[in-house]
């Protein structure tokens, strides 16, 4: 499958549960798909407005097609993801966690350096000793041409979603 068809399929898959946008520019980075999901769990007492306790989990996915895949482009993308955490995560009492999922789709071969970089990549932030939640980056690199997915440890939890 070529990258464009894969991104098209992915968009359809995201559209079921996520708020999705195509071809957006975020923090000076052009992104092919932006998908956002917010889940609020809680208990209410009398009416829906009377919330006794609640917590929210967010996921923001940035899907980007890239033609030249190397360590520097990968590093630049992870820097963008870190910046996205600082900009878009809103720690507060009811915030449990926000996952920033960065997905690079490429048709370039995925060499050992790239594989090692992705698998070892780890970035997480706690807010007020986790009492105001935390955020974490999931990083995935996908080559739909050879149907290969590389993910860091947190990314492995969502790998199924990105399968072909």
């Amino acid at each position: 499958m070529d990258s464009l068809s894969y991104i098209g399929n992915l968009y359809d898959r995201f559209s079921i549960y996520y708020n999705t946008s195509r071809n957006v520019n975020i923090l000076n980075e052009s992104i092919d798909i932006l998908a956002q999901y917010k889940d609020i769990q809680g208990r209410t007492l009398l009416t829906q407005k009377d919330i006794i306790d609640s917590f929210e989990t967010n996921e923001i996915c940035y899907i980007k097609k890239i033609d030249n895949m190397d360590i520097s482009s990968l590093t630049a993308f992870t820097e963008f993801l870190k910046k996205a955490i600082d900009t878009f995560v809103q720690p507060k009492r009811d915030h449990m966690c926000t996952y920033i999922t960065g997905v690079l789709v490429t048709e370039c071969p995925l060499n050992e350096d790239i594989t090692r970089f992705v698998q070892k990549f780890k970035y997480s932030k706690s807010y007020l000793f986790s009492l105001h939640g935390w955020s974490e980056i999931r990083l995935l690199v996908i080559n739909p041409d050879i149907e290969k997915i590389i993910a860091n440890r947190p990314g492995k939890k969502v790998i199924k979603f990105y399968k072909f």
């Binding site: 829906q48 009377d50 006794i52 306790d53 009492r93 986790s130 009492l131």
Partner: protein, 544 residues
């Protein structure tokens, strides 16, 4: 009477009621299996999501089962086992089951709204404010009662040297630490839930072992009161995922183990009931006299009928009902299972002579003796049961504190519901005021507080039944099955409050007396408001 016979008769009657009276109710209310539920029509896979009926029954039962069905029957055993047993059986079938199922079904037919919203729609904003005052008073009673019960159960008395309380207290503290570690590992560190659950349950039993072997927390009742007050202040403000969710999750394993152990024990031991079948209509205890009517019916609340079931339970379960016919299993079946727990609690106090102490101590002693029949040492069994009981009591405690805090904050909100910056709407201030008010009540002890809590809780049930009755009437359906329990519950609660006010006045318990008077007045105003609105609506409908 043999306890196994009581348990079997109860189970058989519940089964017959489920199939016959349940079928009658389903027919009268027009339960329609072909009608789409809100879980389908409003499906968003967040709140509204169709769930398997058995799974949903498990969730619903965990939500409604607390320490209530255990404490009530043990407290009410002063009237003898027979009236308590009859009220549990009749109450669960004709009152509590109808109440829970009716509330759930009404909620399903109202797009998954909670019963509170249905009440609010009928009674308006003024009644909602009155209801909030009522709810807050009820909550401070719950917090005081359960804090006192837990502290009394965990207390160590150097004079007697009995280590049971210290063992259970130590195990409970270890369990709370375990639950927090479990929550941190599963949520924060992404540990696998299945593997974590296996280790979590194994460590839970290890906590019991440690508490039993090294009971290092030896505190007096006062010491435990202070610890528990600090705990509920923290638990009601900490993130839910860190403590409440993992603790409730691990608690469900305790509940199932306790139920299986208790039922197995009754089947193997088959003890006879040794307390009197009946002690008459009036029972003198100390300086006060308790009358079977109405005190029995407010003391045994959760084991027969409980208003809190409709408040906390109906808001979530109704949104996940896959098919209208499932409401019978979840609403009616869930309450009947709770009735069985209440019978088990009654057996634990009735089958063993000289049971004394807090309800937790009595229950643990009875069930531990039963569990010893299949090899679990009595002392270990006691620690296990007290841990299970206290875990439920602590769940009730911090949920009640959260509700109390929320209701208090709401007093200071603007009319449109937006929050103000006043000190009263501050979360920590609201928590401290709620817990502080409960601390004042602590000096009276749970035995004096429980009947007022029971009355307040039962009145909530009456109001929920009122809402369901009105809805059934408006829909042109048969509503006798909810009308009769509603009238009975109003009669019970108001006469109970009247008697309590009289007793408190005689004993000079001014604070409790004031609370009972306030509850009585609020109850009358709420019933009057409801009756007026319904009457006006009826006249309007007739003139239209």
């Amino acid at each position: 009477m043999n306890s196994l016979v009581l348990l079997l008769i109860g189970a058989i009657l519940f089964l017959i009621a489920y199939t016959t009276y349940g079928a009658y109710l389903a027919k009268s209310w027009g339960i329609d299996p072909s009608r789409k539920t809100p879980a389908h029509t409003m499906r968003d896979d967040i709140d509204y999501c169709p769930s398997n009926a058995n799974v949903l029954l498990g969730h619903h039962f965990s939500s409604i089962a607390g320490a209530g069905p255990i404490t009530g029957p043990i407290q009410a055993a002063i009237f003898g086992w027979l009236p308590v047993y009859l009220w549990i059986v009749v109450g669960s079938i004709f009152f509590g089951g109808v109440h829970d199922w009716g509330a759930l079904f009404a909620s399903v037919r109202h797009k998954g709204s909670s019963i509170g919203e249905i009440i609010r729609e009928n009674l308006g904003q003024k009644a909602k404010t009155l209801f909030n005052i009522y709810a807050w008073l009820t909550i401070i009673l719950i917090v005081a009662a359960f804090t006192d019960i837990c502290a009394g159960t965990f207390a160590y008395d150097p004079a007697t040297g009995d280590l049971t309380g210290a063992r259970a207290g130590t195990a409970s503290v270890l369990f709370i630490i375990l639950a927090m570690a479990f929550g941190y590992l599963v949520y924060r560190k992404g540990a696998n839930l299945a593997i974590s659950s296996i280790f979590g349950v194994a460590l839970l039993f290890f906590c019991i072992y440690l508490g039993y072997t090294f009971p290092f927390i030896k505190l007096s009742k006062m010491g435990w009161n202070i610890i528990l007050i600090i705990y509920i202040c923290a638990a009601s403000t900490l993130p839910v995922w860190l403590l409440l969710q993992p603790r409730d999750y691990l608690c469900s394993y305790l509940l199932y183990a306790m139920l299986i152990g208790g039922f197995l024990g009754v089947i193997i031991v088959r003890p006879d009931m040794v307390i009197n079948a009946s002690n008459g209509f009036a029972v003198v205890s100390g300086n006060s006299t308790s009358y079977l009517f109405p005190i029995l019916f407010v003391t045994v609340a959760c084991g027969a009928i409980s208003g809190f079931h409709s408040l906390v339970g109906s808001g979530t379960s109704s949104k996940q009902v896959d098919n209208e016919k499932d409401t019978k299993l979840i609403g009616y079946g869930g309450m009947l299972i709770e009735g069985l727990v209440a019978i088990l609690a009654l057996i634990s106090v009735g089958a063993f002579q000289g049971a004394s102490g807090t309800p937790a101590a009595i229950f643990s002693s009875g069930i531990a003796t039963l569990m010893s029949s299949f090899g679990i040492p009595v002392e270990v069994g006691k620690v296990f049961i007290i841990l299970a009981f206290s875990a439920f009591a602590l769940t009730s405690l911090d949920t009640a504190t959260r509700i109390g805090r929320y209701v208090f904050q709401e007093f200071f909100d603007k009319a449109d519901g937006t929050s103000t910056k006043s000190i009263g709407s501050n979360m920590y201030v609201a928590t401290l005021v709620t817990v502080g008010a409960s601390c004042i009540l602590l000096m009276y002890g749970y035995t004096k507080i429980w009947p007022i809590f029971g009355s307040a809780n039962q009145l909530l049930a009456g109001l929920a039944l009122l809402a369901v009755t009105v809805w059934l009437a408006n829909s042109g359906k048969n509503y006798k099955m909810t009308l009769i329990p509603m009238i009975f519950m109003f009669a019970v609660t108001l006469s109970a409050l009247y008697l309590l006010i009289r007793n408190f006045l005689k004993a000079g318990n001014i604070i409790l007396c004031v609370i009972a008077v306030l509850l009585f007045i609020l109850a009358i105003v709420l019933i009057y408001t409801a009756a007026t609105i319904m009457k006006n609506r009826k006249s309007k409908d007739l003139s239209a």
